[in-house]
């Protein structure tokens, strides 16, 4: 067991919220076609309110703090918030598009010993990246921001969301990351909008594209191991919790709403009206999330993929039932192994593993959903 896993287990046993994801704004200068947020300001927490929340989080034992949005630099006080958080000794991660990072911002993020800055880069080609952000010149500006961060010694991760629109560009982004001395990560998960609108999911990869991506050793490592049929499920698996959401992690919106995770919009309290620890310890919603093990999932507990599935309870919740399957994760398990999930059998849903479209024709222009 790694030290990180050991700390996670100890935090869970002690009821400590080890990690918090705090969105400081939903406002953004980009309009990414797949974004799950609206970008209005419906009454963001003030600087003083956020400082008060950070004090409470430090007292609660939170160690890993992610500042995200929206675009964090849309707030003029953002770097002051980072400074306050670092004074409280959080391990701070910042998610930004780096568009507004100049010399001053890069220097300050370095001085404040921020752990890492994650920047979404969708493609190495401006015409593809900018068509996703819907902001002309955004790739050029984001890369300029990354270059400044790196020149000041800030650790940068280039995050690449895999969609139909940029399916063939992940290797170009990975090469960019190498060139800039940044790390690279990618993920094919598209999240439904927080209001339940699922139209953005059509931008994500279909099963044939996932099947193809999961067979690239550059991305998944040992393909035979990654795509192997799932091993038999044992008793220990049935008693396992699905993920850290609500157990050692939670999400706080710019309006103070608390959820189990950024991808799990189950309203569990609001720090403007309640103390954070009262929500963390006594929220009926968080306690319900914590009570659920694999054994309690009516469909998934009978699925052969149960031991290896990446089932996201938040995606299941947005599909209608936090104890139900997450079809997106069923599709991933199917694309990996070629074995349909219990949910797919139930729905008699058997998508094709291979695309009939010739290779190279999957990169399409997609208009922003209304």
């Amino acid at each position: 067991m790694s030290l990180m896993e050991e700390i996670g287990q100890r935090a869970q046993a002690s009821g400590v919220p080890l990690s918090v994801h705090l969105d400081v704004t939903y406002r953004c200068n980009e309009r990414c076609v797949h974004c799950y947020l609206d970008h209005d300001d419906r009454g963001e927490m003030t600087t003083l309110e956020i400082r008060g929340v950070l004090d409470q989080l430090a007292d609660a034992g939170v160690f890993f703090l992610t500042f995200s949005g929206g675009e964090v630099f849309m707030r003029r006080d953002f770097l002051d918030l980072v400074e306050y958080a670092r004074a409280l000794m959080f391990s701070v991660k910042v998610k930004t598009n780096a568009f507004m990072i100049r010399e001053k911002e890069a220097q300050r993020l370095y001085d404040l010993a921020v752990q890492e800055v994650q920047v979404s880069i969708y493609s190495h080609r401006p015409e593809v990246h900018d068509a996703i952000t819907l902001l002309p010149g955004s790739l050029k500006r984001s890369l300029a921001g990354i270059r400044l961060l790196r020149s000041h010694g800030v650790k940068v991760i280039m995050a690449n969301v895999l969609m139909m629109q940029n399916l063939n560009d992940w290797a170009g982004v990975r090469n960019l990351a190498e060139e800039f001395g940044a790390e690279f990560t990618n993920d094919p998960t598209i999240t439904p909008m927080m209001d339940g609108n699922r139209s953005v999911l059509q931008l994500g990869l279909g099963v044939p594209q996932l099947h193809e991506v999961f067979r690239k050793s550059d991305l998944v490592g040992d393909v035979d191991e990654f795509c192997a049929p799932p091993p038999p499920v044992n008793d220990g698996t049935f008693d396992a919790y699905p993920c850290s959401a609500g157990h050692t992690l939670c999400y706080i919106s710019p309006y103070g709403d608390v959820f189990p995770c950024v991808q799990f919009p189950l309203p569990s309290g609001n720090v403007r009206r309640q103390k954070f620890m009262d929500i963390w310890l006594h929220s009926d919603q968080l306690n319900e999330v914590r009570s659920i093990t694999l054994r309690d999932l009516p469909v998934c507990s009978g699925c052969g993929h149960a031991g290896t599935c990446t089932r996201c309870p938040g995606l299941a919740y947005m599909e209608g039932n936090m104890r139900g399957p997450s079809t997106q994760d069923c599709e991933k398990s199917f694309a990996r192994t070629g074995i349909p999930s219990a949910n797919m059998h139930l729905k008699k849903y058997y998508p094709a593993l291979h695309s009939s479209a010739p290779h190279g024709l999957v990169q399409i222009a997609v208009a922003r959903p209304a």
Binding site: I7, S14, L18, A58, V62, E83, V92, Q115, K155
Partner: protein
Amino acid sequence: MSPLYIARSVAVAARSLDGEMMIMSAKDSTLFTLNPVGTVIWQSADGQTPLAEIVEQKICAQFTVDPEEATRDAECFVNDLANHGILLISGEPISPAKPLNGGPR
């Protein structure tokens, strides 16, 4: 022997979990956990209190240890942390660093 002063580096993240410190270096993201004795030394590393005084007044008072052995172990420990860049050591008192004016919790 001249006194040794120790201060926490500001380039780390730190938090107590079940009475033991978790410390992460911002330089290379290395994660450390300190045992209860190490945690007391870390929490006392204010840059103003000599290490010998920390050992005498905190370690020997809270743990059953031989003072000489505790001093030797403490010196090894702080040197080890200093080599990882998460603790500063000096023969003179160390001023509090800016802008991180809060303390670990």
